[in-house]
Symmetry: D2
Subunit: 351 residues, 4 copies
């Protein structure tokens, strides 16, 4: 990491960038109010930090070993705001440093009428952002893969419905971009790009999504450590896109015998990520638990743990949902969750 | 499970018990206000339920396949209180169905002065029960094993200190009974017997502890599923002791690389256990996280998830604690945790 | 699954296919010597099996619930060879039902000279197929990503070197296709397409790789169950490509504390996969253990467990390898492994 | 660890021992042919190594941080046999440094006739040691717990049967000592004390078993790392009993969905334990897989991985076994396993 002096000129900065690039790395240039920091992307062992230290305008230059330096609290501290966290904007909705943001909607977009009605219902319940899956990742090729799987025209139509629903009720929208071939298409429509848990390790997808110039929400894989989530999020930051929201959605349950939840929600990930990075964190209790009657408690717990938001699946008639019915809450239940969570958030925030 | 008619006589009941015992099983007799239920302990396939159904006073008789029927909500429902949960008393402190109970104190009793001072401090902070380890389970034979490990006289002395400290500040006390040889000794002094996570699978210890006539707190092993925790708790209930408190204290972290917490707290265990059993659940954020700066958030999250209490390690000077210093909170921090948790509890309870 | 009568006509078959497709599913048509089986790809609940049963030429028609029916032993049994396993050809090398196949080479292609020399050395040691990574999946964006990461021209050059090396020493070649954008390029050069463990869940990549008309080797993700490996392999089969080789390369190690291996090789996966499917299985002891001094024993164990082959990283000078040096064996060590494994294979095969 | 000079006198040794004990630790004194090593048991930070270095007869004195120093290869190296492994004797049967040792028999002793017949059958099949469970650890209090669970007289009778069967066919015997209360009883009868996987963490049981003066076999818990297995084995060594056999029997399976095996056998544990300690390792494929049709392959794989022996459950009529029928092999299958394993062992040993 190379910290420039406060009086470093643009020319000084460019000379360092040129040196970094000449060594085969890329340069991430972060300009604070008073200071500029250059983070090399790639194998830093190729860089002659001693030499760079002698350049005009360079204050500090040293290697950082962590695999997630660009998103780390360490990186932010050079700008004097080590304690601060980033606020990421989804449309006009701010995530981080304020009220918890509620992303809600059905697991999958099923029809224009369904998503339009759901948008209305979640808006009334108090949600801030509308979700709706169009390209569903599934464990079985024999399961419903979302309307987007039927072809480009169907995908566009479903994206249009989602956008219309969001516009109609003033809700920014988010959907998952599951494969590289649909990234650009999805980016045309949504306010937030979503990388699903199964794709967390897909570095090529991460890079392509990062380049769309939209904020990105990346979910932790159910077999991944927190460190891996951070290391793969760094792929997004390394493209110059730091509008990143991290999402905890549960890990594989431990131990022998029957499991009472689909996954095990790791809420300690929330304060840990806040300690390690400046990025906001949301929690998805729907996929984590897989059971409607656990969503209220786990939503409250997530906010108490410090989460900046929640992603909750909701349907006006869970029994007829094409995917994930058992984990959907009704709009009434959603409202109760949101109301209680807002009180808990204020209680905890005073701390 | 055999449900007796409301007008069944004591003789009817005893005849069923005799039949169960004649088949080589034991009989757990639960007498409600209007109804008596007999739960066979052992391999129910040996019982002739068809024959028992013909006995006088028998209303229902059928096999229950679950490994934890005596502690299940199903079992309680015969008494008409399927929605209710048990309240377990630690001394005069009630766990379940009310204010969250705070068990606090140092990881290990180190001296009379230390435990006396800690008792005073945790009482002032708002704690309800005093903890202090005397027989510490350790992964390494080369690590400090608690004052109790030096011999019976040292163990008695440490237990006396703990009891004096509890008495002086009107706090019931709890300590871990680590091996079968110390169970009776521990039972003489404490108000709550504690079975450590490493010993959850030790069915012989469970049976012996259950027989002491004191309430028992059993911790989930870090490699155990919730179902296993319930199955092993059933060993306690099968001895006729249903004053059982379950404790979630974290599972082995998932995934590759560095872990930021000692264990991964599984807070979904709280509502799941409440769904499956009538027993109260407490959460131990200290051992789960291993880091002082995560205890506040995870305590709040545990209460928001519905926990009936918390077990928190505290020390007036964490830096000089003989065991687990990095995870101890100061009494001031403890007070803040307790105060915030009480508000969250009231917020969530309205639900 | 729809089994046609032995005298079913092509017209009969096409009518069933049309019916399946009319219901929104695809149809996998497998023609044996005497019998044809049609496997619907997609949600079978949409199919009217009762109706199809009345079609001319249809012998059996019923739903199969398993997520991996097209690769299952059940599917093969209609052709009368339930006990048999598929032989997959990599160039002229046959995998399955014969001598264990050894895939060897460096983790990463580093230069033309390096891969040419390694090809010569592994050929001499007795290897059958040459491996060499060009697009390396890495946990850190700051780590070396393979020569292919520098751009399309570098990628082509490295692929050319790999192909030249294979041709020079009569070794078919394999490399990993890491992202969708390079699939077609890789397919032009290699004899076997390799899907890395991190990408096992990437169904879009699987589909695209499957369509290249080359055999595919898919590695089990380190957080995946065997059932998940089979379910995702089904995505390949569903594209009509059944030249699939499964690869076990280790799961995340269990428990607290230091791990002595990078991953935990699950050798029971070998006989389990042989029981469940008709596909060959190879084992990668290099990535699984991460330590050169464990490769000999784990290679022998894999073959004793019934593996159809091994994938072993080798380098003439492990100390100077750009990636994974500590787990590379020298060509001399490789020869000893191969020779011993061939004896063990003959010993076990007699069973 | 304190290494004495070759000419150190007994007085010199005793002075070091006295110093160690005066610091509150115990002293493990290992006398080699030429050299004596004193291993302090307990918290070494209390020892003044600098001071001990000045004692007469002391050659080296320094702290060893590993939690398993007494069983480590490092410890053995002072005796000049760093490459050698211990041979542990079960009766007259030698485990380690020779032919693989086969421990076989039924999961549970069911009757005198059953164990007598099984002894004859496993002897004919080529087994070396007879196993038979009398105190069965079970996940459910409602399951059969072994004949020993009915009371002390039944336990003695079953132990007598096991011993008679062993004597009749010249097979040393092993059974599990499940709780502290039966340790002495078991020790009276058996040639090898067995600590079950569920009890691996039970340090009090380990200590008591170690003190019986019999060799001890300790199984790895299914949630334990290899490091934990070694750390808990150190509790046995710290009692002066180094006749320890380690047993790998599988860890909790990874990932979502159905598991095809009861546990996941971690065969890399075999060479890892051989690298880290001087102790022999056996593998139990029966409990690990839980399926008869996987035992042959996993037994062969274990021996190929370098195991010093196998523990295999066998029954002349698996269908009628009271416990674990599905994982029992018949005596004929056992013979085939043993014969094949002996060939593999000779093949691998040449390495």
């Amino acid at each position: 990491m190379i910290v420039m002096k406060t009086d470093a000129t643009e020319e000084d900065i460019q000379r360092v960038v040129a040196e970094v690039e000449a060594s085969g790395l890329r340069a991430d240039v972060s300009r604070g109010e008073f200071i500029t920091v250059i983070g090399p992307v790639g194998d830093e062992r190729k860089l002659a930090f001693d030499r760079i230290l002698t350049f005009a305008g360079v204050k500090e230059a040293s290697m950082v070993e962590t695999p997630y330096k660009l998103i780390s609290r360490e990186y932010a501290k050079f700008f004097g705001d080590a304690g601060a966290h980033t606020t990421v904007k989804i449309g006009d909705v701010k995530v981080g440093n304020g009220e918890p943001v509620i992303i809600a909607g059905p697991c999958a977009v099923e029809s224009r009428a369904q998503i339009m009605r759901m948008a209305e219902e979640v808006k009334k319940a108090g949600a801030d952002v509308l979700r709706g899956g169009i390209f569903k990742p599934r464990s079985s090729v024999h399961a419903f893969q979302g309307l987007g799987a039927s072809g480009i025209d169907d995908a566009k139509e479903a994206l249009t419905w989602l956008k219309e629903a969001g516009d109609a009720f003033d809700l920014p929208i988010v959907t998952e971009a599951r494969g590289e071939s649909v990234v650009e298409l999805v980016a045309e429509y949504v306010d937030l790009m979503h990388i699903g848990a199964r794709n967390m390790y897909d570095q090529d997808l991460l890079v392509q999504v990062a380049r769309q110039g939209k904020p990105v929400m990346i979910k932790r894989h159910f077999g991944a450590s927190i460190e891996e989530l951070l290391s793969f999020s760094e792929y997004i930051a390394a493209e110059g896109n730091k509008d990143i929201i991290l999402c905890e959605r549960g890990i594989v349950p431990m131990g022998k015998g029957k499991s009472f939840t689909r996954y095990t929600l790791d809420l300690s990930a929330v304060p840990v990520i806040h300690n390690e990075t400046y990025l906001p964190v949301v929690v998805d209790p729907s996929h984590a638990t897989g059971h409607r009657n656990l969503i209220f408690n786990m939503s409250c717990a997530a906010i108490a743990a410090g989460a900046d938001g929640l992603m909750i699946e909701s349907h006006y008639n869970p029994a007829e949902a094409l995917v994930d019915g058992p984990q959907m809450v009704t709009p009434d239940e959603l409202k109760e969750i949101i109301d209680t969570c807002r009180i808990i958030h204020r209680t905890v925030r005073k701390h």
